[in-house]
Amino acid sequence: MSLNAETACRVFDVQRFSIHDGPGIRTTVFLAGCPLRCAFCQNPESFRPDAADLMTPRAIIAEVLKDRDYYAVSGGGLTVSGGDPLLHVAPVRALLEEARRNDLHTCVQTSGAVPEANLAAVLGLVDLFQLDLKHMDARRHRALTGASNERVLRAAAFLAERGAAVQFRMPLLPGVNDDDENLGALARFLAGLSVHALELVPYHRLYLDKYASLGLEPRLRDLQPPSAADRERVVDRLRRHGVAARIEPL
């Protein structure tokens, strides 16, 4: 089959039996390309779209459908991750349309640092967005990710206003974004959107090997995962601010 250059997806991994990327058992498709360059990025493969495989949406969905029976039992489905899958909207839209045709539950993980038009283009095709709020301070967000958080916050508001199902997440980076000031700002922002829940994604170091194998230098070589005390403190702090935070147990 010939590849349509418009809708071919640059896939750098397909992860079956994903259980932390949305409800139930899922297959996560990782698309290359990202508007951000996060210091703690766990998928540095996404920086190099040329190294990814070009696949048609139909071929990807055929792979995803192999685990259809597990989605049916668990309420799972397809998760599109990255990079940021919404950076190039035509391929992801085609992929989500193909998923719709096959009655797959769809989840999209986005940085939010994409044009509003890209969000609008997939709005009706996505059952659940997962959006990361990495830092509430624009300057520190830029230091951490290479870009201001302005677009991210607008995207959050845009999705909330349109009534999209959004799960907000924050990567928990000890000493980077877990201070009271940031947590307070985060809670106020969520309250403004009438959101009261947050998923905390604890930082881990397992990805550091990937950098070595790609010949890249990780920027947060010394950052440690949150301790039990860190986790407890952050969850507690957020609760006082009216936010119910969930975190995977140690």
Binding site: Q15, R16, F17, H20, G24, I25, Y70, S74, L206, P249
Partner: protein, 843 residues
């Protein structure tokens, strides 16, 4: 609720107990047998068991609420010398047992070697079997001519051949050190003994490298019958049947049943008297009350039906114990559906207020601990070591549907789950799952893996369909229990001998490449299916493979029938028989065909290894033409020496377990054809054979005799286990593995298959992880899967346990349908378990 302190103390004593060889069962049985020689085999067996039960040492341990022991020491397998498997090990590998830590009283040692072994020489099942196999030309002759020795040396290499006889010695080869010399000396000192053992053991080997053990067994006892009638009622049934007896054989069997029923009464009354005596002596009033209850219960059960939950558990334990004493250890005698069996008494006592949850849990914990009061006796062959607590698998079945097809899980099922978690021993527990099982049930069992690795999941829909296909009524099929590892069998109505006879699929390929010889034995076992180099298509190779497999199935079933005839002629078991539906009705011992349902089994080993091998030949020889059959044969015959590149290439081929249709179809066809070959064969009693795909953890040992295979597996390396993909073959995660296995019609595998999976690292920490594993089980079963079990320990933990066994003494892993203490397994089994693909951290 945590483990009851009295049970914690009992568990501690169990874990610290010494392993002993006790000769009481062997001695009393032999004495009686000497006196009854020439009489009907049922009578000989009945009298012999009576002698044992009336004379063996009995005792009540501190803190016990349930009583009944099997030998003069806490951990001492009842030894049945008439089978010949024990005496073989004693005669040839006694030092190994001692080295492992078994102790024996010097008087017992003299008795064993001066009286018992000489008396049984030539009379045992094993001895008669070896004679019969030779007469019928079914045993494989170990060819040690210079030419064949050279061939073995080329195919296996010195190291791998040495590893067969001494695990440690092989490591020394090639080392330049003092240790090397020391090891060589040690090996040399073992050689004469080992050579004798190999010669004596070789008579046991079937053509085509098949295996047929000396024992049959693997039986679900008729506990339900004993609970409802008591042995008094069974005795009455036998007496009434005698009025209609038509010959002396029937009368002899029924007489024997009456003898063993009386012996069971005498046995329990000995305990009643002992408990009364201890009650009178103790100064602790609480313990006195307990001992008085024990005395009262033992005065009643199993002779009469129980009146309470505690008496019901006690009754089961007596019957279970006596049955294992009667058959000897290593017999896979199964309690069955314990939650179903005990439920009437549980619910009545709870309703009347006589029983609270805490006391029920305490009794169940103690019962579970006692299910681990056993060991089998195995020499350490090639690093295989299975002499751990609980290894004489007394599999308990929980959950599932009742005879009407309704879900039968209950509060008692939950209590058993709690007891398994609390005791954290290597109990083999099988959890039946049906479409009607409560939502939370599977999740609850998955969550128990946080505490222990012992549960397995079984699919009712697949098992029941398989049993009905094999001739069970739907009602009987629904009552199935798991025997041994994962073999579904009727509930107290079947004589099924589910374990013991086996063929290895890779041997069929070996026979093709060597034109009717196996590399290890080297004798002309089977037909010459032609020169592989002349084969022009993959289908031609496949046809030759199936032709060889067909012969192997023929040999193993004929051998098994010869063995079964010996049991029927010489060694009956009226105790177990009288609990099994059909035997009293037909006035016939189970070994002679008395049970309502009769089956035999043939296991198939190394499915993943052979499927990967066939797929590699198809791709690299016939499709890509990257090498010729001749080159492949040469590479296999030299264990890929100097051909590492080729070996890697072959190993990189498509593998079973990755959701690849074309490979999975090979597996599906192989299983279909194997099951058809097996079920076309008739047992000695006229039942049919059923296939299984289980490895009992022996895949390591089985692989030790198998030359290199076309999947890139080196000579002597483990075969794939059970129906699992080969170690390291799976690359696409658990759903891909399950999809591959679901392509096989598992209802055809009458005696079951097992899939051993290691869970993704850390998955059980979160509730989502637990739920997801439960969903995996559900989805697999919706797709027709039969069995799955999980090991939750990660590689780092297992490696640490290898380094510091003492600190990890209670680390339990699933081996193959049963559980074991990791640190007590042989090094090579440990490595094999570590090698089972650990799924990476979940995303």
């Amino acid at each position: 609720m945590p483990l009851h302190p009295k049970n914690a103390a009992q568990k501690e004593r169990l874990l610290r107990a010494e392993h002993w060889l006790c000769m009481e069962r062997a001695r009393f049985y032999t004495e009686a047998h000497r006196e009854t020689e020439g009489q009907h085999p049922s009578l000989c067996a009945g009298r012999a068991l009576q002698r044992v039960l009336e004379n063996m040492t009995i005792r009540i341990e501190p803190d016990e609420l349930l009583v009944g022991n099997r030998a003069s020491k806490r951990i001492a397998p009842p030894i049945a010398p008439e089978r010949g498997d024990f005496t073989f090990v004693f005669e040839h590998l006694f030092d190994d047992l001692k080295a492992f830590g078994y102790r024996i009283d010097p008087r017992d040692e003299r008795l064993l070697f001066e009286e018992l072994i000489p008396y049984w020489k030539g009379k045992t099942v094993r001895d008669a079997k070896i004679v019969a196999l030779k007469e019928r030309g079914l045993s494989s002759h170990l060819d040690v001519s210079p030419k064949e020795l050279r061939r073995k040396l080329r195919s296996f290499g010195v190291r791998k051949l040495l590893r067969l006889v001494d695990d440690g010695a092989a490591e020394g080869v090639g080392e330049r050190s003092v240790a090397r010399v020391r090891r060589a000396v040690r090996l040399a000192s073992h050689l004469p003994r080992l050579a004798r053992a190999v010669r004596a053991g070789a008579g046991d080997n079937l053509k085509g490298r098949g295996r047929c053990t000396d024992t049959q067994a693997h039986i679900v006892l008729g506990h339900e019958k004993v609970l409802s009638l008591g042995f008094s009622g069974i005795r009455e049934q036998a007496r009434a049947r005698k009025d209609r007896a038509t010959d002396d054989g029937e009368r002899a069997f029924l007489d024997a049943v009456e003898i063993v029923c009386d012996a069971m009464r005498a046995f329990s009354e000995r305990f009643a008297a002992l408990a009364r005596g201890e009650a009178a002596e103790t100064s602790d009033p609480a313990r006195r009350r307990e001992l008085e209850s024990i005395a009262e219960a033992c005065g009643r059960v199993p002779w009469l039906p129980p009146r309470s939950f505690a008496e019901a558990v006690q009754s089961m334990w007596f019957t279970q114990n006596a049955a294992i004493i009667s058959y000897g250890a290593g017999s896979g005698i199964t309690p069955g559906r314990v939650d179903q069996l005990l439920h009437p008494w549980f619910s009545a006592d709870v309703a009347s207020g006589a029983l609270d949850r805490a006391h029920a849990l305490r009794l169940l914990e103690e019962f579970v601990i006692k299910l681990n009061d056993n060991v089998v006796i195995w020499p350490n062959i090639g690093g295989v070591q299975l002499n751990h607590l609980g290894s004489d698998v007394e599999n308990i079945t929980l959950g599932g549907v009742d005879a009407q097809g309704d879900d039968a899980t209950s509060e008692l099922t939950s209590l058993f789950i709690e007891a398994l978690g609390n005791t954290n021993l290597a109990t083999t527990a099988s959890f039946r799952v049906s479409k009607g099982s409560p939502r939370d049930y599977v999740r609850q069992v998955v969550a128990v893996h946080r505490k222990t690795n012992s549960p397995a999941f079984l699919n009712d829909e697949t098992a029941i369909a398989a049993l009905v296909r094999d001739g069970y009524s739907l009602e009987d099929a629904r009552q199935y229990c798991l025997v041994g590892c994962v073999e579904p069998s009727g509930n107290g109505d079947t004589y099924g001998a589910t374990g013991g006879s086996k063929v290895y699929f890779p041997s069929a390929l070996d026979l093709v490449f060597n034109r009717g010889k196996t590399t290890f034995f080297g004798s002309q076992d089977g037909v010459d299916t032609g020169d592989p180099a002349e084969m022009r298509s993959f289908d031609e190779l496949l046809a030759a493979f199936y032709r060889q497999l067909e012969s192997m199935v023929e040999w193993v079933t004929e051998a098994t029938n010869l063995r079964d005839a010996i049991w029927a002629e010489r060694f009956h078991n009226p105790l177990i028989s009288c609990t099994i539906a059909g035997c009293i009705e037909r006035a016939m011992d189970m070994t002679a065909g008395g049970a309502r349902y009769n089956f035999g089994s043939v296991g198939g080993g190394g499915l993943g290894t052979v499927v990967d091998s066939l797929a590699a030949v198809r791709r690299f020889v016939f499709e890509e033409k990257a090498l010729t059959m001749d080159e492949l044969r040469e590479a296999l015959a030299t264990d890929f020496r100097g051909r590492e590149g080729l070996r890697r290439r072959l190993a990189s081929g498509p593998r079973f377990g990755n959701d690849l249709q074309e490979v999975d179809d090979l597996a599906r066809d192989l299983v279909d054809r194997f099951c058809a070959m097996v079920s076309a064969r008739k047992t000695f009693c006229g039942g049919r054979y059923k296939a299984s795909l289980i490895s009992y953890g022996l895949n390591v040992y089985e692989g030790a005799l198998e030359p290199a295979t076309p999947d890139g597996r080196g000579a002597g390396e483990p075969l794939s286990n059970s129906m699992s993909p080969s170690n390291g073959a799976e690359r696409r995660g658990p759903t891909a593995v399950l999809n591959s296995l679901s392509r096989i019609d598992q209802t055809r595998i009458g005696y079951g298959n097992s899939l051993n999976m290691r869970l993704p690292l850390g998955i059980l920490r979160s509730d989502k992880g637990v739920e997801s594993v439960a969903h995996l089980v559900r989805a697999y079963f919706d797709k027709g899967g039969f069995h799955v079990q999980f090991n939750a320990a990660d590689t780092a933990t297992l490696r640490a346990a290898q380094k510091d066994p003492a600190a990890y003494a209670d680390l339990i892993v699933r081996v193959s349908g049963y559980s074991a203490y990791f640190t007590r397994l042989g090094r090579r089994i440990q490595d094999d378990i570590i090698g089972r693909t650990e799924l990476s951290p979940c995303h």
